[in-house]
Symmetry: C2
Subunit: 126 residues, 2 copies
């Protein structure tokens, strides 16, 4: 039910994270993705299925190839969850500075938006 379960579990495997790293450079077929690993093709195929279900990748069809590419949805889910804990992980000076700058920027944007949109409560869900 909770898609975060699926997504975090998918990311817990080093083979799958390596696949994502490769796909960050661009599309690739199953065989191409399998090449670096001492592992059978069916094993890779199942890793890809796990990544797909976690919406970390999506797959197309090009003749007998199944090109894989990153799907941002899974990463977005994680990023959104991480936001709730930002004050815990962003406590180093450099990052805290970015965070503060970001808060200011956000405040500015919200202020602007208030002027333009003027009414209706469709702010952030939480």
């Amino acid at each position: 039910m909770d898609s975060l379960d699926t997504t975090f579990a998918a990311l817990a495997d080093p083979t799958r994270r390596a696949i994502l790293a490769k796909l960050a450079l661009g599309e690739a077929s199953v065989t191409e993705l399998a090449k670096p690993f001492a592992m059978s093709l069916p094993a890779i195929s199942r890793h890809l299925k796990v990544l797909e279900q976690a919406r970390l990748i999506s797959r197309g069809r090009d003749a007998q190839w199944r090109p894989c590419r990153l799907d941002s949805q899974g990463l977005k889910d994680i990023a959104e969850w991480m936001e709730h804990y930002r004050k815990f992980w962003a406590e180093s000076l450099d990052r805290m500075q970015s965070y503060v700058e970001q808060l200011h920027a956000e405040a500015e944007r919200n202020a602007k938006r208030k002027k333009v949109v003027s009414k209706g409560k469709h702010g952030k869900k939480k």
Copy 2:
């Protein structure tokens, strides 16, 4: 070996994420943490051990209680990994804007640092 394995795996369980959510509000004992769950105390105790090994929490000792609190290290590891994929998950307008502002801020800081520090290559480890 790879601590990301451990940390992502720890986060893949909804009970453990709920525990973290609770701890984001402050310290709590094992029994306190266990209360909301229809699960035995030993089960919770093991979840806490998993979270501790992932450096998502740390534990102290107060008489017979073992107060738990968030440990930011695990979250930092995840956040750092996520950074490599920022352009994929931060593609919505609002977030991209923060990202761009952050890049500018970072560039400014780096420029400043160059002037002050002047030499020696002790930049980010990776």
